[in-house]
């Protein structure tokens, strides 16, 4: 027993020495960065609540964490000392409120909550802490002072990826395209992604069909792979795209010697022989905008008016969403076609869910013509020549597939 205690004491002493050394380097680090940033900036503290671990190396939480840290670096903020994160917080209002209390206790100025299910807890917290700014990804609630929400026009990037897939399908002569989706028409987020992609495909190849297979979960690596394989074997799909967390569908496409379009991040490294391009997010674009507004607005209650809108909804124009660099697997003229369509969207001349249809040839030329937007049950959604559906539909109530989409 004595020997044990002696051992522990010795270990403890060793550790405390080591710890002291560590503290010294920490403080010197802080001092050097303190010099480089202005006093006001040095006071600014960012808080974040994540659904998964901040140490993730891929997926949704990773995308947001990279966006927040990248934005902080662009603004000259110190990620080590000015960022506070409570991670692995499930969509449980009590646990979200506790996470908010923890972050407010740390003295943060702004709190980003990245998961949809945080919605009510953040709304209540914004009321309880009027001095703190709350910003909620993928939500739809807000107030006029210190609570906003943010999301992106992923459907625009999906349309561009759809063009790449459509051109590839023309080249291979296989009109079947598989789509491994977290959900289908249950969520506007997934429905708008599927529809955006399908319209992009059809602009190139009107004979193409998009087969959607639902996971009924936002992340499920085993089925992400299994469903992709089933789409390939049972539906003879020649291209696989996805709305799910991992690169498994792309890997399955490569294994079957076919092609694919990823999502969330450039998946060319995961499936170099299959991947064409991925619809991706630049979350740092929003986080930088929001942090700048939070630092310049003076008091928290002026945040929403400084942002200009309680619901930030950026797209290709803001560079919030885009497609990843086209891989060598893409069909010829993909680059030309995507560039032309991107121009149309950025200039505001045209948008995806409108009564104007684009026709893109294998040579990459783009022509516009009035045509009604029709769902896959034959109902007209937008009359020929009509304006785009409202943003509220794309983010909230879109619960249909466009013509050419089939649930597998």
């Amino acid at each position: 027993m004595k020997k044990f205690i002696a051992l522990f004491l010795a270990a403890l002493m060793l550790l405390s020495f080591a710890a002291c050394g560590d503290t010294d380097t920490d403080t010197s680090d802080a001092a050097s960065t303190g010099e480089s940033s202005s006093a006001e900036k040095a006071e600014f503290k960012v808080g974040a609540i994540y659904i998964n671990s901040k140490n993730d190396t891929a997926g949704y939480t990773f995308a947001h964490h990279s966006g927040i840290t990248s934005a902080m670096k662009q603004l000259g903020l110190n990620v080590d000392t000015q960022l506070f994160i409570v991670d692995e917080v499930p969509e449980d209002p009590e646990q979200v409120r506790a996470a908010v209390d923890t972050l407010v206790g740390k003295g943060v100025n702004i709190i980003f909550g990245i998961s949809f299910g945080y919605i009510d807890a953040l709304e209540a917290a914004a009321k309880e802490y009027p001095d703190v700014i709350f910003s909620h990804a993928t939500g739809y609630k807000s107030n006029e002072t210190n609570f906003n929400n943010y999301f992106g026009r992923a459907y625009q990037a999906r349309y561009l990826a759809g063009i790449a897939a459509g051109l590839k399908s023309l080249q291979t002569g296989n009109n079947n395209i598989g789509y491994v989706a977290a959900y289908g028409t249950e969520y506007a987020e997934t429905a708008s992604g599927i529809n955006g992609f399908a319209l992009g495909v059809q602009a190139v190849n009107p004979n193409a069909t998009v087969y959607v297979k639902k996971l009924n979960a936002w992340a499920d690596e085993v089925n992400e792979s299994a469903f992709a394989k089933e789409l390939i074997s049972s539906y003879n799909c020649g291209i696989i795209t996805q709305h799910c967390d991992s690169a498994q569908p792309q890997i399955a496409a490569q294994d079957a010697n076919i092609f694919g379009c990823g999502y969330n991040s450039d998946m060319t490294a995961d499936a170099p022989k299959a991947h064409l391009t991925a619809a991706i997010w630049h979350w740092d674009v929003y986080y930088k905008t929001a942090m700048e507004a939070a630092m310049s607005c003076g008091t928290a209650d002026k945040f929403v008016s400084t942002m200009g809108t309680p619901a930030y909804y950026g797209g290709l124009k803001e560079n919030f969403v885009d497609v990843s660099p086209l891989s060598e697997n893409c069909a010829p003229n993909t680059d030309t076609a995507i560039k032309a369509v991107r121009e149309l969207i950025i200039s505001g001349e045209w948008d995806v869910f409108s009564g104007v249809k684009l026709t893109i040839t294998a040579e990459g030329t783009v022509t516009k013509a009035d045509a009604a937007l029709v769902d896959n049950a034959g109902n007209e959604i937008v009359a020929a020549g009509g304006a785009s559906v409202a943003d509220g539909v794309i983010t909230g109530t879109m619960n249909y597939y466009v013509a050419g989409v089939v649930e597998a």
């Binding site: 901040k54 449980d92 209002p93 506790a98 923890t102 407010v104 249950e186 109530t397």
Partner: protein
């Protein structure tokens, strides 16, 4: 060289306490080594962990309130599990029983919260949650008594049935589903905290003590007396020691097993009612893993009711404090608490072994 494991004479209390303390300290030292390896100052980390970040915190009272919210369900669930464990009925189904209790308590609150007086709704929530959770637990008890099925497997599998029922309720918008908000296009649970909530007692300017805290202490005392000083409690420990002995002594073993399992599960249902009546909303993560953590707590406390409250309090410091400490360090995520908890459990169990046994070297020729 060979070794023998030999039973030790009873160690005095101080020696045992010291052994457990040494195990905890050793676990913290291992944790510190890991922290150092990833470039985190362990002293500052542990300082934040054990103070739960309350030092220099303007809203420290919030930390204490959140801490108690975490502590209550865990303590009651652990006490409930210890009841079954004492009888050597391995109730691994705390999660499922908690979920069933939560769903039924939530149903009562949503169905009657607007029409009945609040106190009556709360009482109803507790009673119904206890009944439903108790019956849910009783299924595994009945199968064991009737067909000799393995209760560990049964209760474990029934956790997932309950969990998926909860997921189904949480994701299915339908006319019958009063759990979800009608106005939201994406499924969101209805919040009823404005109509139904357990009363709180204001202490000081801002701190509010939930009445459930007092109720939990009373429950703890009742269970302690039940196990130590009643005939039924005695029966539980006799069956735990030897079901055969109990049978020869004329005890109706099956009846006692069913009674105790029901009591264990219904107490977990009560914990769920407390939780739902405090949160005012359901969620798919409503259990906060108390059904799992409660097993660890019950074991670490060696099924001793008083110790369970102490261990649950310490585990909650570890969990809540880890979140606070991890918020400051980018390298450490909230899972660190689970790992530390695991190391502590292993080492305390090791200490437990060395308290009860000693290892002697067997000399050649003996």
């Amino acid at each position: 060289m060979r070794f023998h494991v030999v039973k030790r004479d009873n160690w005095p209390l101080w020696k045992r306490a010291l052994a457990y303390l040494a195990a905890v300290v050793a676990a913290l030292v291992i944790g510190a080594v890991i922290l150092l390896a990833i470039g985190v100052d362990p002293l500052d980390y542990y300082y934040q962990l054990f103070t739960m970040g309350t030092v220099g915190n303007k809203i420290a009272y919030k930390t204490y309130m959140n801490y108690i919210k975490e502590f209550l369900p865990l303590a009651i669930t652990s006490v409930a599990l210890s009841l079954a464990f004492k009888m050597r009925f391995w109730n691994i189904g705390g999660e499922g029983q908690f979920i069933m209790g939560s769903i039924s308590a939530g149903y009562i609150a949503l169905k009657f919260g607007a029409s009945l007086p609040v106190w009556l709704t709360l009482v109803l929530m507790c009673v119904v949650a206890m009944l439903v959770a108790g019956i849910y637990g009783l299924i595994a008890g009945f199968l064991k008594v009737k067909f000799g099925t393995n209760e560990t497997l049964m209760t474990l599998m029934m956790n997932y049935i309950a969990l998926y029922v909860l997921y189904f309720i949480g994701e299915t918008k339908a006319d019958w589903n009063l759990f979800l908000q009608e106005t939201s296009s994406r499924p969101v649970f209805v919040n009823f905290s404005d109509t139904v909530a357990f009363p709180t007692i204001k202490i000081g300017a801002k701190f509010e003590l939930n009445i459930c805290f007092i109720l939990a202490l009373i429950i703890g005392i009742i269970i302690f007396i039940y196990l130590k000083h009643t005939k039924q409690g005695y029966e539980v420990s006799v069956i735990g020691d030897s079901a055969g002995t109990a049978k020869y002594a004329g005890m109706k073993v099956n009846r006692i097993v069913l009674r105790t399992v029901f009591l264990s599960a219904s107490l977990i249902g009560l914990a769920a009612a407390f939780k739902v009546g405090t949160a005012g909303v359901l969620s798919t993560a409503i259990t906060d893993d108390v059904g799992w953590t409660g097993i660890i707590v019950a074991w670490l406390a060696q099924l001793n009711t008083g110790m369970i409250f102490i261990v649950a309090a310490l585990i909650c410091v570890l969990q809540h404090g880890s979140t606070v400490a991890a918020a400051t360090y980018a390298q450490v995520d909230s899972s660190f608490a689970n790992m530390l908890q695991g190391i502590i459990l292993f080492l305390v169990l090791a200490a437990d072994f060395f308290i009860r046994f000693r290892i002697v070297r067997v000399k050649k020729g003996e």
